[in-house]
């Protein structure tokens, strides 16, 4: 790739990052090092000396480590099974296994509490007294809930990586007498590493900075929740700023360490595999045996959301010390959809998310190209830069945007012009900042997916097109993008569904009812006294169903089934 273009992309991306990522972050971080205008390290040192903050960081680290391990444990065997075996119902099971990805965890937590609460379904089913499962498990509960929501990321990456491993590599190993697990460990696993690294990084950093799950499970002794709690007393307490800084730096360090040890070698396959992997058909009880782990994972992962479903149909107050609700009704739906902000919020979310994904896709491909295909200095920096949003909790970034917006809306030229007011003042119209927030937060998925795709696609395929006279854009459009389309679609779907489900940005930035995105609407419904959880569940079910339809529809348009989107 030519250097001039690489440098332009580098400059544009850096500029965007400076304006929309570093600036808001800078405003927030500055607070951590500033003591009435003077630079100080007091707060940074204080974070480590304060036993509560130190414990919070340690707990977050444990949560991230545990979640990543659990996710690999769940996803890797499933990916391997689906790559090797053709079992009855594979199509449907392969699609269902991804469903937790499109289920908003903070909605799921409502159901989780209904099922696992002291007077919930599980205790009634087991016939035991009011055991507080969630309270007992402490950070274990956070790990389990996060892993159940995050394993599809690893599953998709592992499947895509497996599909890209040339079977001839394994055949060569088998030919030399290597078989079974040794073959997997020595040959397949190293070749999958770029994909596994992509998935592992996402899961680790996500769970390290996840706010929603521990917050709703009421587990307050971890860094993100401490930051969130302290934001309420913003201005009075500079420690959350310093805490955010520590999290930011440790995420960046973790990522770098992982990249150096795991993602170092990019094993480019020579073109795509010359022989296709043939999944071995298994029928009868063997087929069922292969399908069983999938069914088990699907069941456990969907339990919270089945809880939401049951809640949405429950007559308020009828699910108490019973396995399932005692009385059912459709009133919750009628009420939730009848609410003035509901329909508008669905439309708003679609619009914000679509814009964010389009912006993301363009930026993600450009960055991946520079990182993988160019040799300019600083491409490693660009790669790290694009990953940074994962290390920053959404609410910190959202707070930064709020600060920028507040600053801008005080300017006379903004005050006096409807155009600038609608663009820059979130109180008037949050669209720009919401779209930017969604894009920035989800950009890493797009970049990681595109990078993994490019690393596994031989550069000779692009050179062949250049040789025939195709310029850069033509090559991109006709060769590169189609070849890594599986990765791009995976990344775009992730970005889209996560944008639709984004909580912290939405709750903080959307301040006018007619601009509410769907998550803010659910949150607002949840706040209603008495009926809150039932109405929120009803809208949650609508959101989940809508998202599922959108994604399945997209996969149908592409002429492929959902599970196969991630294989070529």
């Amino acid at each position: 790739m030519n250097r001039g273009l690489s440098r332009i992309i580098f400059a544009v991306v850096s500029l965007l990052f400076a304006a929309f990522f570093l600036a808001p972050l800078g405003i927030v971080i500055r607070g951590g090092f500033s003591d009435s205008g003077h630079f100080t390290l007091r707060y940074l040192i204080g974070v480590f000396q304060n036993p509560i903050y130190a414990e919070g960081l340690f707990n977050s680290f444990r949560i991230a480590l545990g979640t990543t391990a659990l996710v690999i444990l769940i996803a890797l065997p499933l990916a391997w099974l689906t790559n090797r075996y053709d079992f009855p119902g594979k199509r449907w099971i392969g699609s269902l296994i991804l469903v937790p990805m499109v289920l908003p965890p903070f909605v799921g937590a409502i159901g989780f509490q209904q099922v696992l609460g002291p007077y919930g379904g599980l205790n009634t089913l087991l016939g035991i007294g009011p055991v507080d499962w969630l309270g007992q498990m402490q950070y274990g509960g956070v790990i389990v809930l996060q892993a159940l929501g995050l394993y599809p990321i690893m599953y998709l990456n592992a499947s895509a990586a497996l599909a890209n491993v040339d079977p001839a590599m394994e055949e060569a190993a088998a030919n030399l007498g290597c078989k079974g697990f040794t073959k997997f460990r020595r040959i397949t696993l190293p070749l999958m590493m770029p994909g596994l690294f992509a998935g592992g990084t996402l899961v680790f950093i996500w769970s390290f900075t996840e706010l929603g799950t521990p917050l709703i499970l009421n587990y307050t002794r971890c860094a993100p929740v401490q930051v969130f709690d302290a934001l309420k007393e913003i201005g009075a307490n500079p420690f959350p700023y310093a805490l955010v800084f520590v999290m930011l730096v440790s995420s960046a360090l973790l990522y770098t360490a992982g990249k150096l040890t795991l993602g170092r070698q990019a094993h480019a396959m020579q073109g795509k595999a010359t022989v296709a992997t043939v999944a071995r058909p298994v029928r009868g009880w063997r087929g069922f045996l292969v399908a069983l782990p999938f069914l088990a994972v699907i069941f456990v992962a969907m339990t919270p959301h089945l809880g939401v479903l049951a809640t949405s149909f429950a007559t308020p107050g009828s699910w108490y010390q019973s396995i399932l609700p005692q009385h059912f009704t459709l009133d919750n739906y009628a009420e939730a959809l009848g609410h003035e902000m509901t329909i508008g919020s669905i439309r708003n979310s679609l619009f914000y998310s679509a814009l964010a994904v389009a912006f993301n896709a363009a930026l993600g491909i450009a960055i991946a190209f520079v990182v993988v295909r160019s040799d300019i200095r600083g491409r490693g920096v660009l790669d790290a830069l694009a990953m940074l949003p994962l290390a920053v909790p959404g609410l910190v970034l959202a707070f930064g945007y709020l600060a920028i917006s507040a600053h801008a809306s005080n300017m006379d030229w903004v005050k006096n012009s409807d155009f600038w007011k609608n663009l820059l003042d979130v109180r008037a119209n949050p669209t720009l900042f919401l779209v930017i927030a969604y894009s920035m937060r989800r950009l890493p998925y797009m970049v990681r997916s595109a990078v993994a795709g490019l690393q596994q696609t031989s550069v000779a395929l692009e050179e062949a097109a250049a040789n025939l006279g195709a310029g850069f854009l033509t090559r991109l459009r006709r060769i590169t993008v189609p070849l890594i389309s599986a990765n791009l679609i995976a990344g775009a779907l992730l970005a889209f569904s996560f944008s639709m489900l984004e909580v912290s940005d939405s709750i903080m930035l959307a301040q006018r009812t007619d601009y509410y995105p769907i998550t803010k609407a659910i949150y607002e419904l949840f706040q209603l006294i008495g009926l809150g959880q039932y109405l929120a569940s009803a809208l949650g079910v609508w959101a989940m169903a809508f998202l599922a339809v959108t994604i399945v529809g997209a996969s149908l348009l592409l002429g492929r089934k959902l599970g196969a989107l991630f294989r070529i």
Partner: protein
């Protein structure tokens, strides 16, 4: 119209490694030119520099009248066949071939016609709708060739195009490639490490080693008149006999060797000095074993150690007694062999060769 390709002092470095070191070449219009050398010699780097995937640090590259040194690959109008074929897996055979024509804004009818012609030329017309991964290696190779040729490029660049094929197919395809290039009147540069391929179809070839051209010439010149030990050893098989010049005059040199004096009339261009250390290169097929000498100049006696019977030839290993005691091993081919069977082994034999076939290397 076929074009000339001229390289002037081209140098390409990767970090501290100089992959191509001040290479100059003049390739004539319509010539089928080979770059030949062991792996790591810089031949592929040179080809990729001509295609535009590398930009040389020094020197210039001209294709026809155009200085393409700093042009992007897509502005050079070369057709390249990649070692891995690099067929796009998401397109059919026909779409792969049509790609270059679409970029050249040909009409749909013209594209259809030219794709059909190109596929017919490489005998792949019946597989137009197939995807590349449904094809065998030989079929993929032919599609790659069709894709490069269909755009009627100014020149065609082939990067070890046959290295992934089996021997029989390689044999057929190399003749096919020459036929197609000559039929289209194309200037072609062909990179390979397979000397048989080069000898069989090249108009001229350059032998590269460590980024430098060791020798450039027609297959016959390279084979019969190598100018260095490297080239003599790299192309074909040979025997080296070291010695010193006793006399050199009138186009004949007498070399004093461990097995006696040997006369040579295949001399290097530069003048030879008395007592200069030289090497004689003797191809196995120029050494006649067990027949009456037709030329009495160079006649030696030795012991037949063993014989490999290969059908059309026999390969004899002969030990020549030397002054210092350890015998000199020599390999000789006998065409339509008679000296075969175990009774021949350990037999005293007489061997002879013509002075014109004893190539004198000045090193």
């Amino acid at each position: 119209m076929p074009v000339a390709i001229r390289l002037k002092e081209v140098t390409k470095r990767f970090g501290s490694i100089t992959a191509v070191n001040r290479i100059s070449l003049d390739i004539e219009p319509g010539e089928l030119f080979f770059l030949l050398g062991p792996s790591g010699c810089g031949k592929t780097t040179l080809l990729r520099s001509i295609a535009g995937f590398y930009t040389p640090e020094e020197g210039s590259i001209h294709i026809g009248d155009r200085d393409v040194t700093h042009l992007a690959p897509d502005e050079r109008d070369t057709g390249m066949v990649f070692q891995s074929y690099a067929l796009w897996p998401h397109m059919t055979v026909a779409q792969n071939v049509a790609f270059g024509l679409e970029l050249r804004k040909c009409t749909r009818a013209e594209i259809q016609q030219r794709v059909a012609e190109a596929l017919a030329m490489v005998q792949m017309a019946d597989r137009a709708a197939a995807k590349p991964n449904e094809l065998s290696g030989g079929q993929q190779q032919r599609v790659a060739l069709a894709r490069a040729l269909v755009i009627r490029p100014q020149c065609i660049l082939l990067d070890e195009p046959l290295s992934n094929l089996d021997a029989k197919l390689r044999h057929d395809m190399r003749a096919e490639i020459r036929r197609i290039c000559k039929h289209a009147g194309l200037t072609a540069i062909y990179v390979t490490h397979d000397q048989k391929e080069a000898l069989a179809i090249a108009d001229r070839m350059a032998i590269l080693d460590r980024g430098v051209i060791q020798q450039c010439g027609s297959p016959q010149e390279i084979y019969r008149k190598p100018t260095s030990r490297f080239v003599a050893n790299f192309i074909g098989e040979t025997n080296f006999i070291e010695g010193r010049i006793r006399s050199a005059s009138n186009g004949t040199a007498i070399v004093e060797t461990a097995v006696g004096a040997i006369a040579s009339t295949a001399l290097p261009a530069e003048p030879l000095a008395q007592n200069q250390a030289v090497t004689l290169s003797l191809r196995p097929e120029v050494i006649h074993v067990g027949t009456e000498p037709k030329d009495p100049t160079n006649v030696l006696r030795g012991q037949l150690r063993d014989t490999l019977y290969l059908g059309e030839i026999a390969q004899h290993h002969i030990a020549l007694p030397t002054a210092n005691g350890s015998p000199l091993a020599l390999k000789a081919f006998e065409l339509n062999p008679k000296l075969i069977g175990h009774e021949c082994e350990a037999k005293e034999v007489q061997l002879w060769f013509r002075p014109a076939n004893a190539v004198l290397l000045a090193s």
